[in-house]
Symmetry: C2
Subunit: 215 residues, 2 copies
């Protein structure tokens, strides 16, 4: 995969849009790291790319959104992969396989995305607003994944909450894995990916026993 962010073939208009979009993202990440997230204003970001503030808000919902915009691509990949898994497969193996797809995408990203990944992971550490945005992202992905798992099982998320329970538990493990990376300042995709895999494996061997110990 050559990266989630390149517009291979498209009209000039579309290519231009992608270019300004990622120029904004890069400018934002650089400024956030240079002078702090809160201290950076939208005006400074748009000045660096020479677009109007109004244009910024046509591309991104806000500061939080631009900071995390890199990751939405990997989320989409995860959900798409999950939807492709064979329906007979149990939930956790399906989730594991789909997670692997997104992890591979992270590992095989081009240099531009890798640089953004590094910067983002360094940013999240010590920036509560961005960390809160992460929570929102995970929650959204969880909703989507739960719907898919429920459909696979032939049930409905409203009628049967068990798919939601399983997905929420799984996603919380993934979230904890990423949080340990941020905490330990592991920013290289090449290091993050095995760390996440390792923590998920640890969850697989820890959680059944932990939940079974309930009276």
């Amino acid at each position: 995969m050559a990266g989630m962010t390149d517009a291979h073939v498209a009209g000039l208009r579309e290519r231009k849009k992608q270019r300004t979009r990622w120029a904004l993202v890069d400018a934002a990440l650089d400024l956030f790291l240079a002078k702090g997230y809160e201290a950076t204003t939208i005006d400074e970001i748009v000045a660096a790319v020479d677009v109007s503030q109004r244009t910024f808000f046509r591309y991104f919902a806000g500061k939080e959104d631009i900071a995390l915009s890199l990751l939405t691509g990997y989320d989409t990949l995860f959900i798409a992969a999950l939807a492709e898994r064979p329906p007979a497969e149990p939930p956790v193996p399906a989730l594991l396989a789909s997670l692997d797809v997104s992890l591979e995408a992270i590992r095989e990203s081009d240099e531009a995305d890798t640089a953004r990944f590094r910067k983002l992971h360094r940013l999240i550490d010590g920036t509560p607003a961005v960390a809160a945005g992460q929570l929102r992202r995970f929650a959204e992905t969880e909703q989507a994944a739960a719907r898919i798992i429920a459909r696979r099982a032939g049930t409905d998320v409203v009628a049967d909450p068990r798919p939601h329970l399983v997905v929420a538990s799984f996603m919380s493990a993934v979230r904890v894995a990423y949080e340990t990376c941020v905490r330990d300042e592991i920013v290289e995709p090449a290091d993050v990916v095995p760390r996440v895999r390792g923590l998920i494996a640890l969850a697989v061997e820890t959680l059944p026993g932990a939940w079974s110990a309930a009276p």
Copy 2:
């Protein structure tokens, strides 16, 4: 328990502060429900209680904070209960027992808190900003709980991520339980409490098997 919110004995100053605090909360919840969360301004809230806007921000960090302020008391109760559990007890039973303490507190709240609880649950449904605040609350409680569980086990959250994994999984089940209440418009504490208990029981019998099915 007569409610988390009453200032039994204290100086006049402290009693006055509590009164304005909860007057602000009630005014805010009423306005949020009457004309929508986003459409309600801080100015309208403070006008209803006749305090200055500046005072509002001395009591609450913002709109999101005042909406969820009722729940912080129950969170504190949960964490305090967890810290009191015998160290020999396994994590999930300890978490279950502590959850029961906060659920009992919700059930036995006085009428004022019960009314707030109802309003809040009706508000969260269809108000993404407040729902996002809920996520933050759960994350904070999760951090605190993970530290306690790790200390009980004689380890450290940094050295050993397993306590964090277990707590995150547990809290995600609690969160899913509350989310189903909001979705199904179950707002009465008397109905919410058994629903949460039921979903946690379902998690206990579902999750071990689900996680064990991993290859």
